[in-house]
Symmetry: C2
Subunit: 339 residues, 2 copies
DNA sequence: TACGGTAAGGAAAATCTTTTCCCATTGACC
DNA sequence: GGTCAATGGGAAAAGATTTTCCTTACCGTA
């Protein structure tokens, strides 16, 4: 079939453990022990083997090693996000933690299609990954990816609807609380809420969190929350609407940064000076959006990378037999810019 | 060590090929042949084995298979982009093509740090990936990731500085040509250029492409290209500047969508009506930015997914011994919105 | 001097599947 | 009826490493 690419003319066989053994004048078992720090060997022998291995540029074939170990030191990450806004930081965090455990991740893009997802799941199991992270894109609970899987699974960002699964989520109510605390601290008292569609759990949670936090400060919300879409256009429109009915508003908590950006534009175009007259806080800390807004947005960072890190840590622990089922909440933090 | 999680009480050993063989009443070799469609077997036998395998839920252990095959059916993707704007679509395309070849990708985030990159490279080689895709974030040629690697490498988006390597890049000049053609077709004649820093190859290439394309239409550029940053703020600023010196401009080709968005804002705020008085074209087709602009941006899509797909295809071919070194250019296409 | 203990390292089993012979059986043709 | 060919399937090697015993040699003590 494939006519041997690469190597000049064939004979350059891979260097295996036997070559190292020959060079060091020991048996293969001894090489293995020397290189893995196991068994009882003289230091001198260990050093000699290591030297031989280095000279030959030996690296053990992981396939053989995995065969013995019965595992692959590999995990699968299935994202529903097409590597989008939320999946990316989560993945980055996960990669960090995994690397610390000498693991590496297969990436699969589910594209929000259950069929694709199942297909990827099958492929991952076929390759005998040691565990799976399912990274979502919305905070609404999702149906578990499978029942009785032979490997542990951790759900990141979008929790599993089965509370017996292990999920790592953002602190939605806490985000609202952080926003309110900032607004109150900067002297705002008449605080409104413009957010995404009511069909999204995050919109509801953040709205509920806002209500709680305002109550804790003995403040009344300004009007009902404005539920709409996660878009700039909605932000602009709602801001104009808000001014029409509640002229005296002096703070707006927005469901995300994109909306917040629309809100700042809408307010500015209505002649409001920011941040003097009205303070605006978003959610997401999406650099591109938050920094390009005028003024740059103060916003709540949901700690997505931390969610990724934590997910991977929990997965590693589960792989080691110490599963910690339940919902794990990762706190966010406020990023203060000018708005 | 790890006290056996999962399975109820220990004895449920993995089902292996021997179990299937026993159940089907044949030898293990026959099972292998039946399941892989190799060898000469009666259809009846094949069916019986398959049935047994299904009933037992048998899937071959890939480690054992890899050991024999001498390969892993796995590739590594090293991105320098932190899975950002450019890496994502490239990866998605690559995943598509790889899946078609029954391959799967390890993802490594280089974070633009050569040390990290080398570390990842080492990890990938240790795991004996069959090939590597290096996905860049800028179109400037980059230094090769390594010399004399034991596996083929394809550079995606950011080409290797070594022309003997295999690189897949976007058509930067073609992008400018597409933009000019659209502007000219919509009646624009006084076309200016606002773009990113001159230190970026893409800014230069696009500027050069613009000059060529204008010349082809017997048009003079309006002023020198405005080189600056890839930001909205620069776009706004440069637009104002442009109007001051070239009031009669009726078209602007922007180096990317973010700049273009700034330009639309700048022009609008200067009282220009869009797209009536001035047509604006961006580059990137970054949905979030292009669609949120007022008016939504007409822009050149560089075909990043296609770059990913093509890269993976070339890598698969190289793995099969048919390397195609050189620079492979993937054409972009115009996405017409309202601007 | 002989025996027990320990340290160092070797031999071989184990891991699971694929693939290469090789053998046996059956059918066909002379 | 006998021989040859083809077809179906089995046995065993191969693949690279880890790990579990074992062996050997050396030292100290009785």
């Amino acid at each position: 079939m494939t006519d041997e690419p690469g190597s000049p003319a064939g004979t350059a066989r891979r260097v295996g453990i036997v070559d190292v053994a020959a060079r060091a004048g020991v048996s293969v078992g001894t090489v293995s022990k020397a290189l893995n720090g196991s068994g009882r060997l003289r230091d001198e022998t260990r050093a000699r083997v290591r030297a031989a291995a280095d000279e030959l540029g030996f690296t053990p074939l992981s396939a053989a090693r995995n065969l013995l170990a019965g595992r692959t030191f590999t995990v699968g990450v299935i994202t529903t996000d097409s590597y989008g806004r939320f999946g990316i930081p989560v993945m980055r965090g996960a990669e960090d933690s995994l690397a610390a455990g000498e693991m590496i991740a297969f990436l699969c893009d589910g594209r929000d299609d259950p069929l694709r997802e199942q297909h990827h799941l099958g492929k991952l199991l076929e390759r005998r990954v040691d565990g799976i992270i399912v990274a979502g894109r919305r905070t609404d609970p999702r149906r578990p990816i499978g029942a009785d899987l032979p490997v542990p699974v951790v759900y990141a960002f979008a929790p599993s609807s089965d509370p017996a699964d292990c999920s790592v989520v953002s602190d939605e109510r806490g985000a609202a609380r952080l926003a309110v605390e900032h607004l109150v601290k900067t002297g705002r008292r008449r605080i409104a809420h413009i957010t995404g569609p009511q069909s999204h759990a995050s919109a509801n949670e953040r709205a509920a969190g806002l209500a709680e936090a305002l109550a804790a400060h003995d403040l009344e919300p300004v009007g009902e929350p404005y539920f709409g879409g996660w878009t700039e256009a909605w932000g602009r429109f709602a801001a104009a609407q808000l001014l029409r009915t509640h002229e005296d508003v002096d703070g707006v908590f927005c469901g995300n940064d994109v909306i917040a950006r629309g809100v700042t534009d809408g307010l500015r175009e209505a002649g409001i000076s920011l941040p003097t007259q009205v303070g605006v806080v978003g959610v997401d800390n999406w650099g591109l959006v938050a920094e390009a807004a005028r003024p740059p947005l103060t916003t709540v960072d949901l700690g997505l990378e931390e969610i990724g890190r934590r997910s991977a840590e929990l997965l590693l622990e589960a792989i080691n037999g110490h599963a910690q089922p339940g919902i794990h909440v990762v706190p966010g933090h406020l990023v203060v810019r000018e708005s």
